[in-house]
Amino acid sequence: MAPEAARAVEAVLMVADGPVPPQLLAELLELPLAAVDELCEALRADYEATDRGFVLARVAGGYRFQSHPDLAAYVERFVLEGQSARMSAAALETLAIVAYKQPVSRAQVASIRGVNVDGVLKTLTSRGYVAEVGRDPGPGQAVLYGTTPLFLEKLGLDRVGDLPPLADFVPGPDVVEALEHGLRAGPPPGEGAPAPGETPTPPDDDEHGAGDG
C-alpha cells in the first residue's frame, strides 16, 4: 500500500489552489527536500503508468495536479458549455454581493448565497474583477474582498457608489422574476430603461443555476 507520506502529498496537492513549493511539503511531512522530490517523482510516474486523466506537474516552483494535456478537448467543452453557463449565474450573484457589500468576507458571501463560494471567488479573483482589500480586524482576521477598477471599467461605472441603489424593501421572488424578464425582454414599466443596444440577452443567465457553484 502507498506510504503515508505519498498519500499526504496527494491530499495536500488535491486541496491546494496553486502550485505547492516542495519546501512547504517538506515542512508539512517533516521530510528532507530530496525525499519530497523523490515522492513526487514516484507519484508522477505512477499516474503516468496507470494512465490517469491528470498529471502531477512541476509548475512555477511548485507541484500541482492538472488535467492531462491530451484531454484538453473535454476540459475546453467543460469551460465553454458547462462551466461558463454554470459560472455566470453563480459568479454574477457572488460578484453582485461583493460589489454591494464590500468589503466583505468569504464567509459572509457564503452565508448569503447558501453555498460554498471558495471556487467562485477564486475565479472572480483570477479574472481580476475582485481582489483582497483587507483583513477583518476581529478575531480570525478573515480576508475581506472588494471589487477592482477593472470591474468598474467593465461596467462603465466611475465608482462603486454609482451602482444602482437597492430598493428599500426586498421584493418577493415574483417581482425579481418580473425584473429579470424585463431586463431580458426590455425595460419593465417604471424601471430606468437601459440604453438601447445595451439590453442584454444573456445566453447564460439562468435562475436555475443559482443554487449550484
Binding site: R64, R127, E191
Partner: protein, 259 residues
C-alpha cells in the same frame, strides 16, 4: 460566536424533563413522579429569572400537567374522580409524552448529524479551478453585464428561493389516538406473528404517528400481548405477537390511554 456545549444548561422544558426522568434510568422502577415533579418545580424556580415569556409558559404548562399527575397519584382510588376529567388528564399526559419523545428523537438525530459533520470536516474539497492555459477560453464574465443586471443578481441572491420541497413529511399533524393504534396492531400482529417496528410504521411519515404507534406497541407489551426485541441500540426493533398472553387480564382494552 460562542459555541459552548451546554450539557447541564437546560435548553427548555423538554430538555429538563428528559434529563430528570432518564437520569433515573439505572433504577427504572424506582422513578418517582413526586421526585420528578419536585425537581422540576425546583429547577423552574431557579431558571425563573432568565426565561423569556414563551419558554416560561412552556415550562409552566408542563409543570401544571406534572402537578396534576402527582395529585392524582396521591389519591387512593379513582372512583371519586370525574371520568371526563380523568380522560382529559390522560390526554394531556399522552400529549406530553409524545412531545417528549419527539424532542428526544430530534436530539438523537442531531447527535448523528454531529458525527456526519465531524466526518465531513476531515475531508477538504478541491477548489483549484481552471488552469491558466484554459483561461483564454472563459468568456468574459462581464460581457453584457450592466449595472442593472448586477443589481438584479444581488436581489436574486438575497431573496428566498423556493427550493424543491423535500418531501420527507408534511406538517399537518395527524392525531391518531393510541387506542386506535392498539386496536389496529391487535388486528394486524396476530396475522403477521412477528414484524419489525419499521414494517409496522411503514407508510407513516409523521413522527407523531410513529410515536403513537410505538406507544401502542408498548401498551401491548404491558398487557402481555406482545414482545419487543432489539439486539442492540439502533438495531432493528422486532415486535412479536404472543399467542398466549403472559398475563391474562381479559379482553383487550386500553385502560391507560383511553381517549
Amino acid at each position: 460566536m460562542p459555541y459552548t456545549v451546554s450539557t447541564p444548561v437546560f435548553e427548555g422544558p423538554f430538555d429538563l424533563l428528559l434529563h430528570l426522568i432518564t437520569r433515573e434510568q439505572v433504577d427504572l422502577w424506582e422513578v418517582s413522579l413526586s421526585a420528578i415533579v419536585d425537581a422540576y418545580v425546583a429547577t423552574l424556580e431557579e431558571l425563573r429569572a432568565g426565561l423569556d415569556l414563551e419558554t416560561a409558559t412552556e415550562f409552566l404548562l408542563i409543570a401544571a400537567v406534572l402537578l396534576e399527575l402527582k395529585t392524582r397519584r396521591l389519591l387512593p382510588g379513582r372512583d371519586d374522580v370525574e371520568l371526563e376529567e380523568e380522560l382529559a388528564l390522560w390526554e394531556e399526559r399522552d400529549l406530553l409524552l409524545a412531545r417528549l419523545l419527539e424532542a428526544k428523537t430530534f436530539k438523537d438525530a442531531s447527535a448523528v448529524m454531529v458525527r456526519l459533520i465531524d466526518a465531513a470536516g476531515r475531508s477538504f474539497p478541491r477548489v483549484a479551478g481552471l488552469e491558466e492555459r484554459f483561461a483564454g477560453l472563459v468568456p468574459d464574465l462581464l460581457e453584457g453585464v450592466t449595472p442593472q443586471r448586477l443589481r438584479a443578481a444581488y436581489l436574486r441572491a438575497t431573496t428566498p428561493k423556493p427550493v424543491p420541497t423535500v418531501a420527507l413529511d408534511h406538517v399537518a399533524p395527524v392525531r391518531t389516538s393510541v387506542a386506535e393504534a392498539v386496536a389496529e396492531l391487535a388486528e394486524r400482529l396476530p396475522r403477521l406473528g412477528r414484524a419489525s417496528f419499521r414494517a409496522l410504521v411503514d407508510g407513516l411519515d409523521e413522527r407523531l404517528e410513529v410515536i403513537v404507534r410505538f406507544l401502542a406497541v408498548l401498551e401491548l407489551v404491558k398487557q402481555g400481548r406482545a414482545e419487543v426485541e432489539q439486539a442492540a441500540n439502533f438495531a432493528e426493533l422486532h415486535v412479536a405477537w404472543l399467542t398466549t398472553p403472559v398475563t391474562d387480564d381479559g379482553p383487550l382494552e386500553v385502560e391507560e390511554y383511553a381517549g
